[in-house]
Each structure stands twice: as structure tokens, then as C-alpha cells.
Symmetry: C2
Subunit: 362 residues, 2 copies
């Protein structure tokens, strides 16, 4: 069974470490000798307490979070966060800055505007089809927050250095690069990430919030839409998505104990990306669509000389055991998503296949 | 491993059918020959399309839903629905009726009031500690909807006959009895249910909505909080909780194909409940706290002669392989939750154990 597994370059839900999948599988009928599956134990039990505490503590250790930060687990993905952020932090008297680096930033902006909240789009890379990350941005010093998307899954761009906002809290959608590299968490008021790329399966969204942000949360919001509820109840106001949180805890354990922590994880991720970009740049056949300096280490977006060749490439790749290489339906082309669980070996095998295809068709 | 599994009477997350767990386990590294785990396949793939379509179609067949109804899968549990329902269906010009039958109804009422929506609590069983379901209720004919909780997990009550609201759509929280019995779906405008009791693991909430209800949904709501978004995008506006939906599809398959459908499921559930209630009523030792006629077939709540005996009972039961018998922390006592996956054999074994305990301690 295992030897029939493919090299999975899906953009999300994405590959998970085989040892995480194996641990889930092996314990699935009897979790920690409870006599129950992990999906059958109560969320108020010692078994699940250990799971969620483990996930929180590992997150705090991996990101060097101090006591100012809370780690929360919500449902609804990053898309619900797009709505909750302005709902919780913007009122009649303040406003926020947004940077638009593509689809997901655009959606975050739209969800603030739907609610008639005051926001300013202070920079955008739409002028060049979102192929770069804007620099030298003028932020409003009185903004309640600055919103950015740290990595654009679809266009394949990534903030390499986070902006200096002179003390205005940065809120970052890190859905596609959370735990892929070290970050200077100090400047962030809130970080959110759907788990289904770097840290787990779909169905849970990690939120890291600096406690002073909670002071902005107004009355009058439904309990499930207030960050204060999750902070006060340690993500257990109601039944949390237990299985997804369990899987996240295992991926974090794998990053910490098997990979050797975030320094090492970042090093591996940089090596994987370099392998692919170097090959693409030196090839006359494949072509990166993203400006040097803004290229994502997570989602390597590239084109072939024609759309016909792209179709053929994706199809041939799948026959050779490389899945998920089709670009997002909104932009076409090809994309290799190489999140944490994707091994150097898998990326290296992909490069070998790309060479063979180039030699055959180029 | 399997023979070490306990008889699990948890209130939720709760027991799942062993054949469902086994199918998940066996396919966990390679789903449908995709070369990926079910948690690694794209939600836009043919594999997941089949999963979600299967879950929708089985729901439609099991509940005899006609074309007026949509079956949706949301996140956030029933608790988010408490907030979304008034948000989507109440405006400055209308109001809704609520029936209060305990904790969950009380929370649903609170979440409408937080938003300053106009509601009327038209009946409540609080006068007798929520030990019965109110009858002969006067509803407001111009209400936008009537909200009820079909089964109270904590108090152990259940609506046996749904109220005649003379055409006003009923909205029901069926989290703890969905798919446990046949229902006359015609009178319902919306049915919602956290999956983690009768139909799956935690992490997904089933919503069955009659399409005319969608006409009430206002502009100005974030996309993830509008029922219209889920209806238009077939629950895939963003990445859905794939694993939980997959598990739900397998439980629905088990109800349909292994158990023989909802008629048969209801028959089995009634038999299980009768076994327990008959034994409790004939015992001078155990005592039901719920009035005859309002007793839940899902959550059998009972007391022993003293709290000390209850502690001992729960502890002895666990040693003998019966878990989850402690009452909800807010009410104490004992509770056996006997949802769909709990077998007659397990209930019968529990009754045998209860007899032994009574003989020893009574």
C-alpha cells in the first residue's frame, strides 16, 4: 500500500508526513489505550486535554511565543478570519491598512468592505499581475492594524522581510507558510493559518493572538465570532474539531522532534525551493512567473512554452507518480507546492522528471 | 487492539460504528487508489467530489428530501448556528419564536439577544428544571421562524411530536438526534446538527435548508456567515472540513446499507431506549429524572440514591468497560448516550452491569 503512494504537490489539502499518517492509522481504533478512537473520545477528557495542550505548547516553543500570545484553534478556515478580523478590531472610530498581493488579500479586503468597515489599501502589486511583493509602503500610523498575506499560494509570492509598521500591529494570513520558517513574532498582533498546507489536514485554523488585541473586541458579537471567547475558553467554548487538532499536534511534533525545529525546517524548505528555482531559471523550457526576491519557498509557480505542453506535462507527471502540479484554476500554468512535509527527495525526483520531459519535448 | 475497545456511552464526541472506523483506518495511507490519504487529496479533486456528493445524496435519500431542500456542510458546530440563524433571518421588521427546553435552547436564545434581534420565548420548561417538553404552545403567526432543540443532550428530553406552527418554518437544532428517526421534513425551514453524536466525528455541522429561507438572507454579512454562500458553492466556497465530511458519508452509508435505513434505525433506537428505561423504571435503585412522554431515546439521564453511589457507579462501570456514563458537568448524575452507533448488545450489557451494581450496592 505505502509503496503506491504518489509524490503529492497539492496546494492544499496537501501532503502530510508519512510518519504522522502512520501514527494516526495505527492508533485509530484504540487511542492511547482509551479503548476508543481519537474521534470518539470526549473533548472534555484527559486524552483530548493532552492533545490540545500539546499542540499549543509545541506552537509556543516552535515560534518562541512569550506570555503575551495565545494560541487558539478555530473553525471556518482563513476565509472566516477575513470576516472576523474587521468585525473584532474595527469600529466607527478607527480604520485598518491592507496590502493587496493577490486573490487571498483581495478576499480579505472584500470581507472588510462588505461590513462597511473603514480600510485603506496602502499598496498593491496588481499592476504586474501580483508577481511581486510591494516595498517601501507608507502605512497609516493610526491604523488599528496592517493586514498582509505572508505567502500567496496562487501567484507564488512570499514576503521575505515583513514590513516595519512602526508599532502598528501586523495581522498576517500565514495559511500557506506557517511553521515553514522562523518569524519575528514581536511585530504581529495576530497570525492566522488554515492548517491544510504546512501543519495538518483541513478543518482547523490556527490563530495566534497578542492579548492586547483582545481589548478591541466589542460587545454585541455572537460568542463564536469573538476572539475573547476562544481565549477565555482555551478554544473549547464548544466542541472543537478534535481530529484536525490531533493531526496538527502530530505534525508539530514531527517538525520539532524529527526535523529538528524551525531553524532546520526553514533550511530544508530553502534547499527544496532553490533546487526547483535554480533548475527552472537555467532551463530555457520552464519559466518562473514571479520576480526574483518575491518568490515563494512554498509554491513554485511556473509555465511551459505553451498551454498544450502544460496539459501534457501535468498528465505525464501524474502517470509517473507526481500529483497536484496543475496551477490554480484561476491562473492556469503549473505549480509545485512544496510545504513542510514534502521531502528534498520528492523535489529532487520532480526535477529529474522535469529534465526528462524537457529533453523529450523541448 | 479491537477487543480492548470499551462500550462507549459518551455524549459527544461519541462512539462511531466499528466498521466505519475500520474503513477509515484501512484506507488511510491510500484513499481509493489515489496514492494519497483522504486527508491529503484536494477538495477540488474527483475523489473528494465523490465523497461530498455521496454524503449529500445519502442525506436526501434517508430523510426523503425533495428538491426544495439543500444539504450543506459548515464548520463551527451548532454554536455558530445559534448566531448565524438570527443574523441571516431576522431584520428590523420581523421577529422569531423560541422554545426553551434547556441549556442549548438557552444558548440559542442568548445568541439572538446578543445581536439585539427581536425574539419571543413562547414556552419554557424551566419551571420544572427542563424535565419535560412544553405542549399546547401559542406561536406568533407572523414569526419568521420557530426555533426548537429537538433533543436535549444534557437533560435527556426529546420532542416526540413536532409542534404545528401553522406554516411558520420550524428551525431545529437536531445535533443529538439527527438521523436517529424519521421526521416529517415538510414543516422545517432549517435543520442543523453538529455531526459528533449520531453521524460522525466533531468538526462539521450538517445544515438542511429549504431554499425559500435563503430569500431572507441580507446583504452586508461576511461570506462565510451567509447560508447563500454555502448553497451557491455547494459547501465549497473555501476548503471544507474534508475528513469530517468523509466520516459522515461513511456513517450515512452504514445507516443506509448496514442498518437498513431510517425506519430500521428508529426501531433499533427505540428498542435500546426501552431496554434502559424499562429497567430503570422497574428498579427501586435507579431513577429517571425526565417525565414520561418527554424522555429522550438518545440520552438516558438517571440518578442513583446518592452522589457517592453515582461516583462509585461511574468508576466501577469504567473498570468493567463502560465509559462516558457521567452526567454533564452542569447537572451531575449519570447519563448513557445511546446514539445510532451504540448497539443493542452494548445497551443490554450495560443493563446487566447496572443490575449487578444494584444487587451489590442497593
Amino acid at each position: 500500500m505505502e509503496d503506491k503512494r504518489i509524490n503529492n504537490f497539492n496546494a492544499g489539502p496537501a501532503a502530510l508526513p508519512l510518519e504522522v499518517l502512520t501514527e494516526i492509522k495505527d492508533s485509530f481504533l484504540n487511542f492511547k489505550n482509551s479503548g476508543m478512537s481519537v474521534v470518539e473520545v470526549s473533548h472534555r477528557s484527559k486524552w483530548f486535554d493532552n492533545v490540545i495542550n500539546d499542540a499549543v505548547q509545541r506552537t509556543k516553543r516552535l515560534l518562541n511565543l512569550d506570555a503575551r500570545y495565545e494560541v487558539l484553534f478555530l473553525q471556518g478556515g482563513a476565509s472566516l478570519q477575513f470576516g472576523m478580523i474587521p468585525m473584532n478590531f474595527l469600529n466607527a472610530d478607527n480604520s485598518a491598512d491592507y496590502v493587496n498581493t493577490g486573490t487571498w488579500s483581495t478576499k480579505a479586503i472584500k470581507e472588510a468592505e462588505i461590513q462597511n468597515k473603514k480600510i485603506t489599501v496602502v499598496a498593491s502589486s496588481e499592476d504586474k499581475n501580483f508577481s511581486y511583493i510591494p516595498e517601501n509602503i507608507q502605512f497609516n500610523r493610526d491604523a488599528a492594524y496592517v493586514h498582509i498575506t505572508s505567502n500567496n499560494t496562487i501567484k507564488g509570492t512570499q514576503w521575505k522581510n515583513f514590513p516595519d509598521t512602526e508599532g502598528v500591529p501586523v495581522i498576517a494570513d500565514m495559511s500557506s507558510d506557517i511553521m515553514s520558517r522562523r518569524i519575528d513574532v514581536d511585530r504581529f498582533g495576530l497570525i492566522y493559518a488554515g492548517a491544510q498546507k504546512n501543519i495538518g489536514p483541513a478543518g482547523v485554523c490556527m490563530v495566534i493572538i497578542r492579548k492586547d488585541m483582545l481589548e478591541l473586541v466589542p460587545d454585541g458579537l455572537p460568542s463564536m465570532l469573538k476572539y475573547t471567547t476562544y481565549a477565555q475558553k482555551k478554544s473549547m467554548y464548544n466542541t472543537p474539531p478534535c481530529f484536525a487538532i490531533y493531526a496538527v499536534s502530530l505534525v508539530l511534533k514531527w517538525i520539532e522532534e524529527t526535523c529538528g525545529g524551525l531553524d532546520k525546517m526553514e533550511e530544508i524548505n530553502k534547499e527544496k525551493a532553490k533546487l526547483l528555482y535554480d533548475y527552472i531559471d537555467n532551463s530555457g523550457f520552464y519559466k518562473s512567473t514571479v520576480m526574483v526576491g518575491s518568490r515563494s519557498d512554498m509554491n513554485v509557480v511556473f509555465r511551459l512554452p505553451s498551454e498544450d505542453l502544460e496539459v501534457q506535462f501535468i498528465s505525464d507527471a501524474l502517470k509517473n507518480g507526481f500529483g497536484g502540479l496543475k496551477g490554480h484554476r484561476s491562473v492556469g500554468g503549473c505549480r509545485a507546492s512544496i510545504y513542510n512535509p514534502t521531502s528534498i527527495k520528492a523535489v529532487s525526483a520532480l526535477v529529474d522528471f522535469m529534465k526528462i520531459f524537457e529533453n523529450k519535448m523541448g
